[in-house]
């Protein structure tokens, strides 16, 4: 993994030199700030459950915009072939792009944590669900980044990559509603794929290790299959 640091720095520079990152973070913070204020003044309770759900839905839309260029741009510009012919392992390339894509989500999460600080200063919030909510958002962002990275590796068109990744994310988010229409045992199988079903316990403070495992599995499968997409040269 000796090249990982160099690759990560290159990807970070690529992301943060693009106006997409700043526009994305700005829009995210504007919407989140509105949600936090509205929820706080309406409910007057020291909790962030609704804020977490709002952030999760925004991640479904924002993360694919960040990940769309990770492989698609290199494939379109022909630089991917150069990268793959260099003495760098494919897994290093994938991990560097994944970490860079996730770093923007982590930045957004870090800025979102100011809401928790505000609650802590002016109130006495229940910190357990707040910690688990941020953990859930981090895992969700990581899963969406892995999915976005995989889709980006399958196409040379950034818009296609963004739209498909968004579609997959939204479908997985609300797939449990489809479960109600299916007979047993398919309803359970489909419901188990639901992102919202696995995210809700984090947001409310009822943490299950199987939910942590679910998101980690998506990340690892997404990264592994992203490596396999590099076979398409």
């Amino acid at each position: 993994m000796k090249h990982f640091g160099t690759l990560l720095l290159k990807e970070e520079k690529a992301i943060f030199s693009s106006p997409i990152a700043y526009a994305t973070v700005t829009v995210y913070l504007l919407l989140m700030g509105y949600t936090f204020t509205a929820v706080l003044f309406l409910n007057r309770t020291g909790e962030l459950v609704r804020v977490f759900f709002q952030a999760a839905v925004l991640f479904l839309l924002v993360v694919p915009v960040v990940t769309m260029r990770l492989f698609a741009e290199e494939r379109r510009g022909g630089t991917l072939e150069l990268l793959l012919t260099s003495p760098i392992r494919e897994i290093e390339i994938v991990l560097a792009k994944f970490t860079a894509g996730l770093s923007l989500s982590v930045l957004m999460l870090a800025l979102t944590s100011t809401y928790a600080v505000v609650l802590g200063i002016y109130g006495d919030p229940d910190w357990g669900p707040i910690y688990s909510g941020f953990l859930g958002l981090f895992l969700l962002a990581a899963s969406l980044t892995a999915i976005g990275l995989l889709v980006s590796g399958l196409t040379a068109n950034q818009v296609v990559a963004a739209v498909v990744a968004m579609g997959v994310g939204i479908l997985l988010w609300m797939i449990d509603t489809l479960g109600y229409l299916l007979p047993e045992p398919y309803d359970t199988i489909i419901s188990q794929l639901s992102l919202v079903g696995h995210f809700t316990p984090f947001a409310t403070g009822a943490l299950f290790l199987s939910d942590v495992g679910f998101f980690l599995t998506i990340v690892l499968v997404g990264l592994f299959l992203s490596v396999r997409t590099l076979a398409r040269r």
């Binding site: 688990s132 009822a206 290790l209 495992g213 980690l216 499968v221």
Partner: protein
């Protein structure tokens, strides 16, 4: 954390190491970019299928050894120990569908609680539904109320109306039990009915009224105890049904316990029973039950008289005066045959006649002939029947009519 949670947490750590090692090994698999199109597709396809298969197996393994951490300050997502024990000991599949009201805090809590319970044991399959958002699903189950759990197992189905996980867990126990114990409540003889509306509270406020106010549960109303006892027994897993001894020849064999809820008329039960009498009238092709009771003031037997015949049943319903001076009329007579049930119209009393005695006195004072049900021959029959009943009670022997 109990011992099982510690073991499962260690299991999770092992699981995590295993999947990371698998990932690292998988990443070393050659990409084979120079393979021809079909072999490459086959190679990649096999790897993709194996990846998803391993991912599913890994998640199933984790779900079977799941650990729950309730991070809330008030431990709002921690079910009671009793409910957890019931779910942990489940050895057969149970489907729990909970219909909650999204606007109701207790309903939302119950939803979260059953979902937490559902993840403790794969045999308990939980589905939560907001009927306002999914009315079709609610209609499919025939559920038109909020905060109700429908429990299904082996073709059996019961409904538990509660937001308390303990009640739902007891419902599960009731569903999966192998032996049914029936508790029978006696009724029809001044006993308080077990199906009273003790759960239906009505609170009249200045601006409006409401039903089901939780504070009203503290209000003890006369006769509420019977309903509460029934609900308590049901929640403990007993089958409960009512029996009307006046219409039975013996206590049904399935009644493990017979409950006689004192109607509280005023006298003690034993004393009151001494004042009561049941005459069994045998006809060539019918059997009649005639009950006399002091308790006809206030509560009363369900029927004044009932005759079971070969071709049907004849029931004389009690006239039901509820206030002093109120017009009682005559008891309605119902005839039940294979063709159905119908009421036999009887001669109406005059407007100033309340009942039989006032009709008799009215006839005497007006100089009219006493006819109908107060006629002399009817009176003789009644007196003779009563005399026979008394003689039978004294001797313990059957008495034939007419009396010698």
């Amino acid at each position: 954390m109990d011992r099982l949670d510690v073991v499962n947490t260690i299991w999770f750590a092992g699981w995590l190491i295993a999947v990371v090692v698998l990932f690292a090994l998988g990443a070393r698999l050659p990409l084979m970019p120079r393979l021809r199109r079909f072999p490459r597709l086959l190679y990649t396809g096999a790897i993709v299928v194996a990846t998803f298969g391993l991912a599913v197996l890994a998640n199933v393994a984790l779900v079977l050894h799941d650990v729950h951490f309730d991070l809330t300050r008030e431990a709002v997502f921690t079910p009671s120990k009793q409910a957890e024990t019931v779910v942990d000991r489940l050895h057969q599949d149970v489907k729990l569908t909970y219909f909650y009201q999204g606007q109701d805090q207790a309903g939302r809590r119950a939803r979260d609680m059953v979902e937490v319970l559902g993840r403790r044991n794969p045999r308990l399959r939980v589905r939560t539904i907001d009927p306002d958002k999914q009315p079709t699903v609610a209609n499919t189950y025939g559920v038109r109320i909020y905060n109700a759990a429908v429990l299904e197992a082996d073709g059996r189905r019961i409904q538990v109306m509660s937001t308390d996980e303990n009640q739902i867990a007891l419902g599960i126990l009731r569903l999966v039990r192998e032996r049914v114990t029936t508790v029978c409540f006696m009724e029809g003889h001044d006993e308080y009915p077990m199906e009273n509306f003790e759960f239906h509270t009505h609170f009249e406020g200045v601006a409006s009224h409401n039903h089901g106010d939780s504070s009203s549960a503290l209000v003890q109303m006369r006769s509420h105890g019977a309903g509460r006892l029934r609900r308590a027994l049901e929640s403990l897993g007993y089958d409960v049904r009512k029996i009307i001894p006046a219409t039975l020849t013996a206590i049904p064999a399935d009644c493990a316990v017979v409950v006689d809820v004192d109607g509280g008329w005023g006298g003690d039960t034993v004393g009151r029973l001494k004042d009561n009498a049941i005459a069994v009238l045998s006809y060539p092709s019918a059997l009649g039950l005639l009950e006399a009771s002091w308790t006809q003031i206030g509560g009363e037997p369900s029927f004044a008289m009932i005759v079971y015949g070969e071709r049907g049943t004849l029931i004389v319903h009690q006239p039901r005066p509820t206030r002093e001076g109120e017009r009682a009329g005559v008891g309605r007579v119902e005839l039940i045959t294979a063709a159905g049930s119908r009421f036999v119209e009887r001669p109406a009393l005059a407007a100033d006649e309340r009942d039989g005695p006032t009709h008799f006195l009215s006839c005497v004072s007006a100089g009219r002939d006493v006819t109908e049900f107060c006629a002399a021959d009817v009176g003789c029959d009644v007196q003779e029947t009563l005399a026979a009943a008394l003689r039978s009670a004294e001797t313990g022997q059957r008495v034939a009519l007419p009396i010698d």
